[in-house]
Symmetry: D3
Subunit: 328 residues, 6 copies
């Protein structure tokens, strides 16, 4: 846990602080007076600022790398109206010193609570094959923890630590609500298994160690194909897993985007795939809507104004509750 | 209520029956022996067959018109392996003699029960303006009954008598399930009011007296614009109806198709419009799916086969329950 | 009428001027010497410049709001090569002190002459219902004047005060020219009535008090639906207005964009709607062309060069007259 | 000129007639009684019927070819309720015996009058280069007559003999009406020259000797490119023709379809090209409309019904005049 | 190997033949004289004809099923000008009695020669991992033989037995030609491995036992995903297979359609994927072209005529060699 | 040949140099001390820098024009960390003093070698008409040299001096490789003639004297139509050139873009056109790929990273060779 966040610099003006930062940029420059100094940019979840290291920076320069975490000590100062830090020490941080949520946006929900809720849904499965299948993903020592921390996207909806888990739990709630409407056609366990597994490939498609990005494997294969491979490995370890059930789960993963142009190789052809694809699309859009409403409030829009044009939704949006409240 | 249906002809072979029919075609032809006879086609909900009237048909010919209902008496006979009827009498039926559900496909659900369920939802509204607004549609002496009997489409989903009411009630159930998931953003009364009113224009866009077709007004204006006009009339009769609420209801009607290419002049911009548009699309697709599954069974497909290619869904479909059941 | 325009600042260097301005931005800042001053931006149709108010600005700050009109007195000075004004007084302007054409681009044509021409066309109508219908719009104490001043768009063609009226009159001229070609199919009164009413909804879709923008109602409903509502109100006040004529007028409004993707809920299905949609599209494109030619001249392009790529037309354009003239 | 038309067969029952026909199909078949007979289909502008030639058909079979014109003599008979002809003689027709308008649909207008009107427009050109250019096309001993008789399309609008000339004259009338509206931007001579030349390539793209079809050259190159070649040949014969004027005329031909997907290699970039493209599109659509209205009347539609769905217009259409007349 | 083919029926008129057939349809019908008979349709690669079995058909009816192969003996007769067969015996054929190429269109090339050529390319691989990978597919006791006999499509290019192998070998030839052009960027072994494996999933996507169709798994997953699964199994059996090489092979399979709308979840991003996608598209189109040219000759088109409009290519085609030859 | 390139300024600090430059911008400005000076920007292939001329610049100002080449003498100096030049003399350069490759990016290949290779292919033609046709282009005193120096595009692939020739030679190599695969359908001479002529119109569509741009004729007509005109002129000079061969060559030019939306008025309909269109597309994409790989290396990307998103290819790309090499 960091003690000092960049957004609080004003409070620490002229004080010496010690904290962890993401080293975004670093270069050695010539001093006018001869010799060199280090010009750096440090950042955390709350912002970024410039740093300078005037002397004895050789070891720091040799051991720290842009894009990695560092532990640094220095004095906070104001220069040309902006805060910066003059460093006295800087060394690479070890992995266990770092809590990634100090550096990246994270879900506003309690991850343990989301996790417990998710496991509760799985515990309720009555299908004898789907429960062990899903558990083999969740209990996997690598995939399970990755699934708890992964973002759901690089820039769009749920682009934050824990975003994938949050997205999946919200989907499961919606599954639980909608499945009874289609009790004659939809198997609720299959629907929920699809909801849990559909984006599992994102734990390898995305990288979120220091910043959110795509892995090369993710770029070349996509999270759908990666998930298909994971599924095959897990099913191979469950002797007797029915072949048709395997095909139906694969189909839900393959078709969840609902449209070819989003890289879905199949359109939803079964009731579970169709319902899930609709739910997934709705959840993503409602999350976009919430984000746009929040942005509009931040930028000082009035409640009866539409938001800025949303590029991903191809329209501006309106918070109808706020709009109605403004009438009375 | 008809006593005799065409599908039961075999039971009545050589008997004389009296019943109501839709007169689909009629023409006078030359007898080989000189003179003329009437060649007709009669139909009801269960099928159609040929009719012949050999003598004294002048008045029938003068008073009955193709496309209208008739009352006819005649003997059922078999000719070339097919049943037909030789008429002795035929006259136009009066409107109150006819129950349109004898002649057209009708919802399999109890219309009174659907109507009661619908009214129950409205009774639960807490918004002081939306309840009277919706009631003014339902209680309208012309619109209300039309809404109870209208089909929801000419050829696609819910193309049967009572299909519009059935579609709306299923949507309301889904609204009741989904609205709590979005309690922070979605006003459930507004969502349900939109669900009830969104397709109300179809009672004037479609004609379903003898067969399902579009009215000329429906072709030129579309049910969305027709509903906007109805809404304006109803709101004008509710003094003080808030302007912003009116705009939000109109917006739900305008945007419910969700895409410009379906003739929606607006994309959904509010939480209620977005949720409703998603629900409406899902319900229509699930209904299509059920119809395709039924058709596949009728045409003798095996449960592990996909259906024929569905033109409206642009894919074949698979009944996953039947498919799984076929594996064990 | 303003006496002083910002573009004329050079003429007034060091003089004290009093005039009306749009207050675009205002903030209080710290003086280096302690205390505060007001930093403002003032604008009118001809440009914008910075303003400073060093003393006694408390009341100005309390009563004036960014986005509103003000009356201000101050001295014109040059600073860093740019003109600015040092204010001595500033107060909100009352509505009747302001002529909106001082602050926004306005049609180059005489509005009274356009209005007279428009009324002349209406006076020539021979259809007994369309003349009173159109007159009820033009004579409406709110809609009529709004129609005279509204722009025809926020950013594209005719985005200036009076642009809507100008656009409609040019369309009427084209109607008068083209209608005789299709005398067998096209009713000229219906064509012209459609031309006058098709964009009337823009007087509520757009706001143009201080800058051009969409109203929230405009965003949620669009000018087509707004016009349908206006039409319904006006027709309700004309007893006996024929229903089919009402439907044909509505259809012209609904279909005038000619394509679903522009938010037209219907494609043109009648001769009048088809001709009008073609004319409207041509007029808008020719106006875009004129604007691009003017911009190319301003930016110093040679007459034999094509204009910059026009985003709305998806191509560059060429002034063929200038191009030919350059050859000889 | 034919004396006998197939549509008049009933009048000639049992009479012997001699006339010219298009031989659509011919095959020798076995008689039940041994030996062979000729089974043929003959057609003219008014329809087609079966023909039989029972004896001495060897020479006819050897000299006549399906797809060619024949002179035939035979007796008109009724068989199974349909008329047919039993041939006694049949030989190939020579070219000068045939008037192609006896066999194909032809313009309802007087071709000489259209031609005179066209030449009148050209006589009014004031541009010293465009008049000789257009005249060199019209006076060409091959192109000129072909232009007078060519259809404007294979199946769509103006698909009849003389259709191209008719289409061009109607366009010229519209040019004459619209050009003054854009007097500042549009050169009327250039506009009209483009109108006359834009589809000239169709005289080689289409073949209309016996039936309407595309030539192989037409399929591979298209009428736009063919017209560009013609233009180049004609301009080469006019010494000093200005290069820029040549480019502007070529551009009008290249861009007249207005959209890439119709095979237009350029979008209209000049005022003349833009106006012409709009006019051409409108004229084609209005002609389609007239054809659909006529078809609806023929098929017994009521005046207040919309036409069948028009595939080329992607909508049904409504004859608004008839619709209004039906109300009173 | 069949001794008798349906196309040769005329040669065997009134003879008794014994052969294998595909039983396409079978139903019992009432004899006019009382009792029943069997009405059947039999087919082979060369056509189909009616069959009748008048007596003692009980066991045949009980044991044979429509859609299966039968062995039958009967007399060839002509009836109403068409040949049919009157059966004396019919029993189900065993699998090893049937050579599927007797019943379905098959490649015109020697399958053994194609197979040898294919193996020759693989033998030339220098990459130490790709050769064993490809061999593990070819040597698989189920996949290998299936790959030799599979068609490459249900209806489009190479829709015949052996079509997949034929398509792949032609692709390998083109790979061998094109790879040297891009020697700096393209690894020829990777390119060829992708060519061999890209459509391997079709051996499970398609069924071609009696007629060509999609399997349900094929419909739900598609051949791309099926191939990805096969690949994973094969690679798992090759210890140490490099992960990046695995990703590159997977990417070639995922991206080979080159467009999202064809169900490719990825666009080609590597040189090998890009080259392969272009080659695959070209080969398929050239094969379509050959098929259209052959069809045009069969239907009696002249060499200088274009073919009928090809739906899959969205254009008519022209055999340029024949066209040129026709000029001299 | 220039002696001094701007990129080498550091080597010449404080030295006086004389060289040729492209004068990109020039304006006279007020000195603070009174009087004026010239502020200029000079550029060459290696970059651009500021220039100042403090005295006696009247004649330079009068005779030199922005966009033209100049000869200048001055001293290289460093100012604010950047190099600039203080001019003593500047005059317009004559055309023969300038080697355009000093100022624009140029092919990395030897133009003479490319030209020789091209001519070798032509020498191998066996078709008696295509060789003289192609030679008449290459030997044309204006077109030939222009073809040697033209870029192949303004901004996309091969946008450098000599790019068109380079592109064509690479295409010919690919033609030579691919044609034998389709020996039954493709005439290699026709394929190669199409390859040489397909983009010849670019020598008039593009201007590349000082910078790469479109000519007005190029904008209005496009290189396809320009090439058609060139072809017509050349063929007219070869008596007896077969008409069908002419049509096939024209068709290759018209269809080479392969898609309507790229301004191709025809889709490829012959084997040669189809093969060429595929080859041309592949070559352009491979060249784009090479450029993206080079850019990624320059910008410091790791070999196992994908490139930035390529706008023209609509995807990021991966250098598979570098990626694989990075694994071991």
């Amino acid at each position: 846990m960091k003690d000092f966040y960049i957004a609080d610099a004003a409070t620490y003006e002229n004080a010496v602080v010690t904290s962890y930062f993401l080293l975004s940029q670093m270069s050695a420059r010539d001093k006018k007076s001869g010799g060199q100094y280090l010009a750096l940019t440090l950042s955390d979840r709350t912002g970024s600022f410039d740093a300078r290291m005037w002397d004895e920076f050789a070891e720091s320069l040799a051991t720290c790398t842009a894009g990695c975490y560092v532990k640094a000590m220095g004095r906070i100062e104001r220069y040309n109206g902006k805060f910066q830090i003059t460093l006295q020490k800087m060394r690479p941080a070890t992995e266990d010193e770092i809590d990634v949520t100090d550096f990246q946006p994270a879900t506003q929900y309690d991850v343990d609570a989301l996790w417990t809720e998710l496991n509760g849904y799985v515990a309720g499965f009555r299908n004898p094959w789907l429960q062990p299948l899903v558990r083999s993903f969740l209990d996997d020592p690598i995939l399970g923890p990755a699934f708890r921390s992964a973002p759901a996207a690089k820039v769009l909806h749920h682009a934050w630590i824990g975003g994938l888990l949050e997205h999946v739990v919200f989907l499961l709630r919606l599954c639980a609500r909608v499945a009874p409407q289609y009790a004659d056609e939809v198997d609720p366990d299959l629907l929920m298994a699809g909801a849990i597994l559909h984006d599992f490939g994102k734990v390898r498609e995305l990288a979120w160690k220091s910043s959110f990005s795509y892995t090369t494997e993710g770029q070349l294969l996509g999270h759908i194909t990666i998930a298909i491979r994971m599924l095959q490995e897990k099913i191979a370890a469950i002797p007797g897993f029915p072949d048709r059930l395997r095909i139906l789960v694969e189909h839900m993963i393959l078709s969840h985007h609902g449209k070819f142009e989003f890289g879905s190789p199949k359109l939803p052809m079964t009731p579970e795939a169709l319902v899930f694809s609709a739910i997934d699309d709705l959840e993503a859009k409602m999350q976009n809507m919430r984000a746009e409403f929040a942005k509009a409030v931040e930028s000082g829009k009035q409640p009866d104004e539409v938001t800025d044009f949303s590029r991903s939704m191809e329209r501006p949006l309106l918070n109808s509750k706020a709009y109605l409240a403004g009438e009375s």
